[in-house]
Subunit: 534 residues, 2 copies
């Protein structure tokens, strides 16, 4: 339902989360779900975990693929298997599109801004592009398996992680662990319902049998005292003194007051279950998410022409003609192909020289790319693990202009670690991106220092930031559609124009996810193949 | 509060879980918590994440350590640092005690039973001893860091994993995912409370402000419709059709009926939050939990005399005398030392020839060791991942004599995988241990085949089982105390006898955890050192 929202995960985003939820609901609207269902027959088939079977093969037909991101490389790989001749045009000097990982030596320029050369220590990195793979993204996992990319768990749901809210009524500025809020809110709610059942208030609603069964459930779920149905805490919210050696059974901690909790509104940091795409289990590529891009590149790299910018697309009756420019020599070259699969982000494509119809060009305007900012912070002590027992997860907070702070899910207890110092979207990201990298670093450090006073600045070593909307050839973190343009513009773009088809996360309901790029590519090469056969 | 219970985790154990909870409550009793608090001053200090500082050092005093498990090796390491002369006597031919991992060639004999030689393929293994490290077990994590043991996440809380209950009323024999039960129970409970608030039934209990705040919480927590406060499902319980490429926004799934859910009693598979020791984050050693034992062994292995059984302990006034036998040659040897740290499980120690006082011997009888069975099953396809999208976690079930079925949290999507085919305790484990290994394997396969019909037997390759109560030198999975003996016997044993002190998980409130062994060792060497100084 909500691509933005899935991105934000369940990590206690407070205002930001709510803001995007509202936006996403406004954009989608539940009526839209069924209305657009099956408008394209290929939809359901393509959400499967395997690429389409291209019956009969490509018989040597030529396809020019624009962009060597995951969508482009997926197409090159699968079309190649089916006997198509592919050439991939890529403006950057490397493959992967936004599937990037910043490590020592990685260079990134922002339009009208600075060029950063990442100076993290050897072995340290930040996934400033995609960073998580949901267990249900079968397509991404399919390629991780096929291409032999080692995976590891990404700890998206760590209740031991802190939350720190400055606007939380009586709990403002208090550093809490997520499990404290979860256990106490749920315990109190269970108590409230249990007592109302026992006092007969639910007699009109529930049968005697259901009342008994529900009471049993509530007592267990909420750690209620069986006799008086009162919640008085649980070790699940942490101990005051942990059980240990000798005569140390542990001392349970004191629950927060229910009134304070309600007034704090901190209950919003979790839901009954997370959105499916941010539930455990999430995974990541060992050594950086760009290992997925590199694995594709090992298969199809020989088909990629790097450092080559597309300057013109012309759809002919029998051929499509693409003009491109070698960025080193400036030499122009014209390519002819039977089909063009264009995976260039719409943010970029809509500014390019094409002969697409006015209607198609208009449809491209219905899409917008999300301003997105990420900050990697290398620390020389993993104090969050060694001194706070927080092994991965997110630090929920409402500190101005920060968004998510996330702890690394790799190199546990190693000598160094690289944290996601902020991950923000929209207006916030736009505002932050106006800062210099030094100022952005200061913003991130000032926020972290509130949560880990005396530690964050002390152990900080190096930083690297990105503002995706200022990155050439991307111009945004991920694609977003308004409800109206999903209805009109999106279906039009899915059809393609002449011999040119579009693919990428922007051509899916998995906006911003790697799976969106891959599955869209599967869908569009299937469509291309059907046209070729026809 | 409950060591057994912590072991069982939160994985939907149904009857077994409840049985142990009841047992644990009977054994502990909340009054005991404070009554025994601080009976030993050292308790709190020792639950910290670092070993004790042994001021002034050991000045060459000699300590004989019985048992090269984690408690024994912890003592050898720390006492060695402080200048004590240590010798460790170990009956087995390898160190680690119960911290074992079965891989190709590992041999295990059961008393009066079979000798199994593990024939798993290269790289496959099962942690048939300890298998999980809670984030809050600072002592275990301390040594993983100090000794350089690489860790990885253990996925203890995977809501995408199946549950399969044969006695679940209208949902009997249905394979469900945990997130379905969680989302629907919580959604319905939130709806019930929300509607009762709106209808004025909580007016006596809650202020107008709190009612508004609580409604806001419930709508968000339970994915309720804001207008009619009704729960109609959420993508968090999985989609019927997943969002994908093109015009595929996804089709949400249909919730289970609340009445059916209540009658199924499946709500018991989770609680508001897990017990703290089975919450995310849990970790494990990369390559098998025995890597922790091996890391200790690299430090203190030169102090260990392997294949040597302790035959006699005599406490003298100035010395302690230990007689032991070389199991190869049968040669007896007598050792004299200033102190003896005995880490031999009480199940074994109480049968040995010692001159402990009648009172001390009586105290040892207050302890019992849990019959514990585990089964490792190697499969040649990770069908649970590739075909079911279950990446780790537990399969909750109530199939007779099974207990927990757990999926591996390593080698994701690799060619092979080794599952925990069962993990059971108590009477169940005793019953299963009477079976031959072949029969046990059949028990595990028949159970798995119910959950994964047509797949489990098909992909099964090899198996390895253990019944810890039949393993020499262990005679049980882990130590348990009744409430009464915690009050009387336990404190007596903690004092030690003469120049002999006891250490191990049995001397802690972290029964069965590696942290119990380590922290008990820290506590007892501190005590020994204090006596040495005195």
């Amino acid at each position: 339902m909500s691509a933005f929202f899935d991105h934000l995960g369940q990590s206690g985003l407070g205002t930001t989360r709510r803001e995007f939820l509202v936006k996403a609901l406004a954009a989608g609207g539940s009526g839209l779900l069924l209305a657009t269902m099956n408008a394209w027959g290929a939809g359901i088939a393509s959400t499967a975990g395997a690429p389409p079977v291209l019956q009969g093969g490509g018989r040597g037909k030529k396809v020019v693929i624009l962009g060597a991101g995951l969508a482009g490389m997926t197409a090159a790989l699968e079309l190649g298997k089916a006997g198509y001749q592919c050439e991939v045009i890529e403006a950057r000097s490397y493959a992967g599109g936004r599937c990037q990982t910043a490590r020592r030596g990685f260079t990134l320029s922002e339009l009208g801004g600075e060029t950063q050369v990442c100076d993290f220590d050897e072995g340290q990195y930040i996934n400033h592009g995609p960073w998580r793979i949901p267990f249900c993204h079968r397509s991404t996992l399919h390629y991780a398996a096929e291409l032999g990319v080692p995976l590891e768990l990404y700890n998206n749901d760590n209740d031991a992680a802190y939350i720190y809210y400055e606007n939380a009524g009586p709990l403002s500025g208090k550093r809490l662990r997520r499990f404290e809020v979860k256990a106490d809110m749920r315990g109190n709610v269970d108590e409230l319902l249990a007592k109302s059942i026992r006092s007969g208030q639910m007699d009109q609603t529930l049968s005697a049998e259901d009342k008994t069964l529900l009471l049993e459930y509530l007592v267990n779920e909420g750690y209620l005292n069986r006799d008086d149905l009162t919640y008085r805490g649980t070790n699940g919210r942490g101990y005051k003194v942990y059980p240990g050696a000798g005569n140390q059974p542990g001392v349970e901690s004191d629950p927060l007051g229910f009134g304070d909790l309600l007034k704090s509104k901190l209950g919003r940091i979790y839901r009954s279950v997370n959105d499916i795409m941010s539930q455990s289990t999430m995974l990541q590529a060992v050594g950086g998410m760009d290992q997925i891009a590199k694995a594709f590149e090992r298969k199809v790299g020989h088909l990629i022409r790097y450092g080559t910018e597309v300057t013109q697309i012309r759809n002919g009756k029998d051929k499509v003609t693409v003009q491109c420019k070698d960025l080193k020599t400036g030499a122009l070259r014209t390519l002819e192909a039977d089909f063009c699969l264009c995976t260039i982000p719409l943010s970029v494509l809509k500014q390019m020289d094409t002969d697409f119809s006015a209607e198609f060009k208009q449809a491209m305007q219905g899409n917008a790319y999300m301003p997105t900012g990420k900050m990697g912070l290398q620390f020389n002590r993993r104090f969050w693990e060694l001194d706070h027992q927080i092994y991965g997860g997110h630090i929920g907070n409402d500190i101005k202009n920060i968004g998510i702070i996330s702890l690394p899910s790799t190199q546990w207890q190693g000598p160094k670690g690289t944290m996601l110092g902020y991950y923000n979207f929209g207006a916030t990201a736009a505002e932050v991106s106006a800062l210099s990298h030094k100022e952005r670093t200061e913003l991130a450090l000032a926020a972290g220092e509130k949560i880990f006073p005396g530690e964050y600045r002390k152990h900080f070593a190096k930083s690297f930031s990105v503002a995706w909307h200022r990155v050439q050839y991307s111009l945004g973190g991920f694609s977003t559609w308004s409800g109206e343009s999903r209805k009109t513009a999106f279906p039009r773009l899915l059809e393609g124009e002449g011999r040119t088809l579009l693919a990428g996360e922007h051509m899916s309901y998995l906006g911003g996810w790697m799976a969106g790029a891959i599955e869209s590519s599967w869908q569009q090469i299937e469509r291309m193949h059907a046209r070729n056969a026809a």
